[in-house]
Amino acid sequence: MEKTNTPKSHSPVGESKPRIDAREKVTGAALYADDIQFGNKLLHARIKRSPYPHARIKKVDLTRARALPGVKAVVSGEDFSGYIGLYLKDRQIFCRERTRYVGDPVAGVAAINPEIAEKALGLIEVEYEVLEPVLNPEFGASPQAPLLHPDLGQYVVASFILPRPGSNISNHFKIRKGDVASAWKKCAAVIERKYRIPHIQHAPLEPHVAIAKVDESGEVTLWDSSQSPFAQRDLIAETLGISQSEMRVIAPLVGGGFGGKAGVSMESLAVAIATKVKGYPVKLLLTREEEFYTAFVRQGLVATFKMGCDKNGRLLAMENTFYWDGGAYTEYGVNITRAAGYSCTGPYEVPNIKADSYCVYTNHPVGGPMRGFGMPEMHAGLEQCIDELALQIGMDAVEFRRRNCLKGGSILPTGGKMHPTGLSECLEKAAEAIDWGKKAPPTAPNKRRGKGLALMWKAPAMPGNAGSSAWIELAEDGMLTLGVGCQDIGQGAFTVAAQMAAAAFGVPYESVRVATPVDTRYSPYEWQTVASRITWSTGNAIINAAHDARQQVLDLVAKAWDETPADLDIVNGMVVSFKSEREIPVKDLAIKGLPKADGKGWMGGPIIGRGNFMPADVTGLDPETGQGEKAVVHYTTGAQAIELEVDLDTGRIDILKGVAAFDVGKAINPDMVKAQMEGGLIQGISSALFECLQLKDGVVQNPSFVDYRIATSADLPKSVQSIIVEVPQDDGPWGARGIGEHSMVPTIPAIANAIYDAIGIRFEGPPFTAEKIYLAMLEAGIVKG
């Protein structure tokens, strides 16, 4: 919905403006956290980590490490108390009694160079008593499993997270809607399937890095690669027992986040060590190998789906159970479980639902948010079941989806109503672009060709009161400076923010600067750059800030010209009057105001606009039924379609074509929306074909790019098509919704459905490696042994 207060001039919103930070990024001038120079007082930190997935710490001896010349500090769990975590405070900075995954921090060293820090690690002596690990979430949820967090009942927890003290279940989200038991009898077809989705890792090109410094006065500064500077200020300060305003987080550009740099993970280690060497900046830079097993990973999932429909293909019931492999600490992961729970049906209207989503502690790496927040994992199985159900009643899979997919007004699994959505349009456009229903011959005799399609939905998963804010100032030259606390992690947040500020205030895009780096001392508050919420939430705050500044300008000029503000507008940086046709550049009054009409003194003053935004109407859900008025702010929906070939000689998959169609409400920057769709599609393809953290007895077997393969420039589909659908969001800026995460949600099932179309085989889970495909074809008699 266009805000009435918005300028009538030509708007940069909806135009594909070039990235605001592109020039500094191509010249090497762009500053990332590891690039900041600290001089020769800089200390280098390294972490002594648990080699066991589950162990009791019997003794930690730091004496020899402390004695090594060049070592400035050695710390362990004894030096710090308290717990940290976003939704559930279940994590210690350094382990005290117990370690819970291979890589769990036991001690930390700061030394004058990385080589000495590394040597000191070898001098730290730790005695462990090895305990039985939990390596499987289904077993972990059972009463037979060893208890990993006996203190679960004492942990501080958000009101909407429901842990089960005395078990390894740190959240149990339920939906009980309608009557599933009796619905099965009315079904013409019912299927039941089980899927295992492996752990994967974000693998941003920039590894995690944090530099912390504590002043003699106790004030803390943290420079880091972060999606969440404000959340880090809050959580780290609280855990270390300092007040939030004494903790300053400076977060320069982020070299890829994908959720892995949200919340707090390794940053607290750097800060904790720095408290013991006041005055020295302490840098902790994860190696690529540490990135793979000690930073957040995407949780594994074991999912069972039971679903049924009538003979017309109407979905009647779903019974879904999710066991999330949350890892050693589920402080952030508990909410992934909840998000998957309230979205458990996928983008379909289902009258009868029983769903149980369990977050389970295991002795695996720490599960955390990753692009899609549970949705790619959940949709991976769900969207294959939809295909199978359609097949069972003899209906085309697109037709089946056409009938069942959510429309505006459809009833949601949590009870409320769906807002207007372009999901049907996404479905039709994706099907059309992939030539659905037409079978092309393979490109060679040793190939099989197939097509697949999948739908998706995803809502921003966040507390109901996650806030954004923004400010706007003007300089003497008329340039507008926009302050925001959101982070550009590559998705283009600063560019889109600048476009929105320009449009809402009335200056050209080129006249906007974004005040960076984000610094909690000077930047306005932002909850976190996660959940694809920035365009929508920060965007609304920016509009409010721009309108505030604009109103100040218009009121001032109206007074000076003796006109009413309603007759004035700001167009391309000029205040114009439609009534008198007078005009004045904003820069002439932005700082120094205007003289009073009688010449005696001045009026106005430096223009500064402020705005904030917080969703107001998200309600809680009933803990027993999962029902409530409004579970989330909105859902972005979309579809992907894939055409591929399977090579019968090797099992290799070649993606011929990928199509993405998403309803973004309004594309503020269409090219960048398409870039998100492309990047997400390729990341989705990568997760479908290559990616898996190979866990054996709790140890990641492939913690490097040598053996954790991701898509390269040679693995692209021959053609990719991105389609923007725009059904406006009523409370979105210019109607916009987020698109960052959604673009990789339906990729795994779209590929799985295409593989089935090609060779008639389904798999328990990705990655669909050449080996897995080939051996399955062998089993099925498609190729010879």
Binding site: E118, V699, D715, E771
Partner: protein
Amino acid sequence: MTTHTHPTLPEFDYIQPKTLAEASQFLAQHPDEARPFLGGTDVFVRMRDGFLTPKFLVDVKNLDGTNDLRFDPQAGLTLGAAVNMNRVIASPDVQEHYPLLAEACRLVASYQLRTRATVVGNICNASPAGDTIGACLALDGVLHVHGTGGLRREPLATFFLGPGKTTLKPGDIVTAVSFPVPPKGCAGAYLKLGRNKLSDLSLVGVTVLGSPDPGLPSRFRFRIVLASVAPVPLVAAQAEAVLAERAVAPESIRQAAQLASEASTPIDDVRASARYRKLMVRNLTEMALTEVWKKLQK
């Protein structure tokens, strides 16, 4: 596999000898502490991983002709140890006379890694996965080794003893690898199966070189070398014999491929299972032989 990796290269002393003799002498005097290196693409990685902890790294590039790439119509090709793979790929002589070698180099890692990676380094690392070793074996490569006792020649065929193990002794430095002029009318293929289309290590690699040979019953001679499916680069001798004895045709090619597969002894690892590797030896050998056979018939 290691999870604990150094943040930097561990400490060592860089040694740059002026002559081969000096280099050999230093290496022989520090048999457990010194290690020669060329491009370092393998050594540095293994040092970060903690598998190698040399006290001295001896740079054997830029020594007495190690940068030369020479072709002579009679003597054949000599690649100096320091000649990087991109130079091999770009060399018109290699492209014309040894296209199999160029193709094998092209499938190694990435362009920027190949600026450093060398064929001799690939050979000396003696990884069963080495992409260029198959071509070097099939092309009858001979190593030029400088040891404390002076220069000697060592045929590749007997060079490999196990993963990372060769006949080289402390003080030995490979200065070049040379190849005779390939048989007239020969054709080759290197088929590599990685997880990604390019840039990965080989899960299985199959090198085939075929040439007319009137002395054989089939009138064709085939060399077949397998990567990543045995402790050393594996010459599939029985498969080669079948194609020397029987007329070359789809049936004998299939039989040879089957024999190659049976000769392989791959292991299960994070990259692939032994079972899949064995099957892929069969399929890739059949494909490579078929491709080479087609070229030979032209």
